[in-house]
C-alpha cells in the first residue's frame, strides 16, 4: 500500500492514547463475541492480513488474536461509526471460541433478577479447557 492508499486509516479518529474500541461480531450467529482496543498499526494489520488484530493495553504490544490458540477471527466486514472512532468487525470465528475462558464469546454473563435481587448469571458453557488451548 502506498501512502495515498491509507486515506481510509487517516479517517479513523484514534484517541489521545492512539486507540479505538473494536467490537467483534460473529457473522454467522450475529452474537457479539469480543471487545478490545485497536491502534493504527493493529487496524492496518487487520486489513492487510484479514485477521482481527488488536492492541493489548496490558502487554503493550500487538495482539494477533488466535496466534497462540488458533482461534483466529477472519474479517468478513469492517465498519466505522458516525464519529469515526469505533470499529465494528463481522468475523468468522475459527474454532468457534472467542473467549480465553474457552467459551464461544466473552459476554457469557447475563443480568437476571431472582427473588428481587439482580445478579450476573453465567449462561454459556466452557467448550474447551483453557489449559488445553494455551500451552
Amino acid at each position: 500500500m502506498t501512502a495515498a492508499d491509507l486515506a481510509w486509516l487517516d479517517q479513523v479518529k484514534f484517541d489521545e492514547q492512539g486507540l479505538v474500541p473494536g467490537i467483534a461480531q460473529d457473522a454467522e450467529s450475529g452474537k457479539v463475541v469480543m471487545f478490545a482496543y485497536m491502534n493504527r498499526e493493529s487496524l492496518l494489520e487487520t486489513v492487510k492480513t484479514g485477521n482481527a488484530t488488536y492492541w493489548s493495553r496490558s502487554r503493550n504490544k500487538l495482539w494477533r488474536k488466535g496466534e497462540e490458540s488458533g482461534h483466529v477471527q477472519r474479517i468478513q466486514e469492517l465498519r466505522l461509526d458516525c464519529d469515526g472512532d469505533v470499529i465494528l468487525m463481522r468475523i468468522e470465528q475459527v474454532g468457534g471460541i472467542a473467549c480465553h475462558t474457552g467459551r464461544e464469546r466473552c459476554f457469557y454473563n447475563r443480568l437476571e433478577q431472582r427473588d428481587g435481587v439482580w445478579r450476573w448469571v453465567v449462561t454459556d458453557p466452557v467448550l474447551k479447557d483453557p489449559e488445553s488451548i494455551y500451552r
Copy 2:
C-alpha cells in the same frame, strides 16, 4: 434497592475515569447499532428504568438516550464480559433510529476495496432528517 442489592454493580470494573464501554445491539435485527460509555450512575439508571442510559464524556453528564429524540432503547438483555469491564445490551430501538444522523445505526460506513484502494462507503440511508429529530 438496598446496598446489598447492588452487588451486581460492584462486580463491574469501571476504569480510572469511572467508565465502561457499552455496546447496544438491536435484539430483533441483531445489528450492533451504537457504542457509548457508561458510568456507575448510568448503568444503575439503565437497570432501574429499563432504558439505555449512557455517560456523555463531551457534555460530562448523564445521557438518557432518546430523551430528546424519543428514540429510546428498551433493554431486553444486559450482559457483562469475562473481564467484567464491558457491557453488552440487547435493546429494542424505539423509532428504529439509533444514530444522531437519522440512520438505523451508527455503523453505517463499510470498508470496501475499489480499484485496489480501500475506502469507507456509506451503506445506510438517512431514515429521518436530524433537523426534525432534534428541535
